[in-house]
């Protein structure tokens, strides 16, 4: 049986966001969080559940989710005094946690309104800590504060028994993950998406992580165009990987900026030949 999560409509999220935004100078924002259940109750049927097909997830489950993620955030903040690094570390660890959270193993996790409720209600303090008052992070969708992490873990998970299970999640840059996850024709297909991530990883070792952004953005266009005429994810795995690896190499060469240094090994940094 499926555990049914609470769902929050877009309009209800707007009301929550307006309520929190009143405290955008930081004062009394904790009080704003406490008043959130009141705000959502002012809308009719603001929080809904699926009518049938499972049982409502318990408050205990939601509390566990909340407390564990808060713990991860606190740990990230104390281990990394740099704010950006702390949040990046939190994203990685939270994605791993959400991947294995039992109650999110069903199609409830595909619903935008479920993640909207988590970001705007259950985990709202974390949303604010991570993104302050960026509205799209409260709404459901690929940019939701936590849905984006779950989507990444779904695609980049090499498997419970895999050696170095989370290497892709730990290695890919934020831009690379956005290029993969937020492109529906790629992010929806785990076979293709994870193969692109593997190709990115290989290319990043060849050319250097710092050089990958323009390569990735160009390569993705070529891959998407090819995917329109060839069902890439239906290819044998080794053929798919070979095509994608080559696509990154060809793109890097076409950009005309990169060549591997003469003394290079597979993981050498690139010699920048641009003027």
């Amino acid at each position: 049986m499926v555990e049914l999560f609470p769902r929050l409509s877009k309009m209800a999220v707007e009301r929550v966001f307006e309520h929190i935004s009143q405290f955008s100078d930081g004062s009394q924002i904790q009080d704003a969080f406490k008043n959130i259940p009141e705000v959502t109750r002012t809308l009719p049927d603001a929080i809904k559940y699926a009518a049938t097909g499972g049982w409502r997830t318990s408050q205990e489950t939601l509390n566990t989710l909340r407390q564990d993620l808060i713990k991860l955030a606190k740990s990230a903040a104390s281990d990394h005094p740099n704010r950006q690094l702390a949040r990046s570390h939190f994203d990685t660890e939270a994605a791993k946690y959400l991947a294995d959270f039992n109650a999110l193993q069903s199609a409830e996790a595909l619903r935008d309104d479920v993640w909207a409720c988590l970001a705007a209600s259950t985990l709202v303090e974390l949303t604010v800590w991570r993104f302050w008052l960026a509205k799209d992070r409260f709404h459901g969708g690929v940019r939701n504060a936590f849905q984006r992490l779950w989507l990444r873990s779904r695609v980049l998970d090499r498997g419970f028994d895999a050696e170095n299970r989370w290497e892709l999640l730990e290695a890919l840059t934020e831009d690379a993950m956005v290029q993969i996850i937020e492109r529906p024709s790629i992010g929806s297909d785990k076979i293709l998406a994870s193969a692109i991530a593997e190709a990115w990883l290989k290319a990043s070792k060849r050319y250097g992580r710092a050089k990958m952004e323009p390569i990735m953005r160009k390569a993705i266009i070529g891959i998407r165009l090819r995917n329109q005429v060839v069902a890439l994810s239906c290819l044998p795995a080794d053929e798919l990987q070979a095509f994608l690896d080559n696509e990154f190499v060809v793109t890097a060469e076409k950009l005309g900026q990169f060549q591997v240094s003469q003394q290079s090994t597979a993981s050498a940094d690139l010699v920048d030949t641009a003027d």
Binding site: K10, G53, S185, K190, I221, R224, V229, V230
Partner: protein, 302 residues
């Protein structure tokens, strides 16, 4: 067959690939042929889908200009689910090889309902297997080339329109603000035009205005045109200010806000460049809005 783009090689038509409509049954009830919505579905319901496919290899060989003895094909069925123009998740659920000795596939699949959300999209593809020697330079030459496809999209929870529209009480939702008496409100996030429309914007119509709701329900042409013109105007004007516009449009996915905005742009301003229309928007807004209003007569929000 329903390719959204013209393919750069020879493909198969519906004479070469014959299919029965998908039969979908829920909870052991009677099969429903070619359904648009599954009533009574929930996570606990069992869902079964079935169809028969047959490829006429003689005809396929002619259409692809590939000798019949060399022609190898495969049939792939993908299950898509989750909201969005492109389903949020796509899974491969069947692959069968075909040749001239095996031209028929009977498909019968039980689907796990607890992995389905909001819709079930069944995508069927016929792909080229191998890289055979062909008689024509227009023959498909790449392993996995898409030769034929169709899509059955079934709503699982209600019959949601493709464009996200919702009726709400503005007195309740915008209490105390000037929008309270508005007829409609397009809520959208301009930050990322590459998001799927269903997730990025929503057209709220004011159910406090019964006279207005009546006109929408009746699909009154002038009301729909006026409302659509506002939506089109907002998206197209935003499109004009995107940095690296040509690159952004090139990279815009089907179903994204940017792609829809570009389509409406082409409808309202055929044969005009973005810079020309931007100049029009900034210096002759009346002409810009009139063009949008005229285009809205032929556009659609459904």
């Amino acid at each position: 067959m329903s390719f959204s783009n013209a393919m750069p090689f020879l493909v198969l038509d519906d004479n070469a690939v014959s299919v029965t409509p998908w039969l979908v049954s829920i909870g052991g009830q009677d099969d429903v042929p070619d359904p648009r919505m599954l009533k009574g579905w929930d996570y606990a319901a069992s869902v079964k889908v079935a169809r028969r496919m047959e490829v006429d290899f003689r005809l396929a060989s002619e259409q692809l200009a590939i000798p019949v003895e060399l022609l190898r094909l495969s049939i792939v069925v993908m299950e898509g689910t989750g909201s969005g123009t492109i389903p949020r998740v796509l899974r491969h659920i069947l692959k069968r090889q075909l040749d001239r000795e095996n031209q028929v596939v009977d498909i019968s699949l039980n689907l796990a309902s607890d992995s389905l959300s909001q819709r079930l999209a069944l995508k069927t593809l016929v792909l080229l297997e191998g890289v055979p020697d062909a008689r024509s330079s227009f023959s498909p030459k790449l392993q996995g080339s898409k030769l034929w496809e169709d899509l059955q999209d079934v709503a699982l929870e209600g019959d949601a329109p493709r464009f996200p529209i919702e009726a709400i009480s503005f007195r309740q939702c915008f209490a105390g603000s000037i929008q309270e008496s508005a007829l409609w409100h397009l809520q959208w996030m301009t930050a990322d035009m590459h998001r799927d429309i269903s997730g990025s914007l929503r057209l709220y119509v004011n159910c406090d205005r019964e006279d207005f709701i009546e006109r929408i329900t009746a699909l009154d042409p002038l009301t729909m045109q006026t409302m659509l013109a506002d939506v089109m105007g907002q998206l197209v004007s935003r499109l004009l200010y995107l940095p690296d516009l040509k690159e952004q449009i090139k990279g815009a996915e089907r179903g994204s806000v940017a792609r829809q905005a570009q389509q409406w742009f082409e409808l309202a301003f055929p044969d005009q460049s973005h810079s020309q229309v931007l100049s029009l928007y900034e210096h002759k807004p009346g002409e810009f809005n009139a063009a949008i209003l005229a285009a809205a007569e032929v556009g659609s929000l459904s």
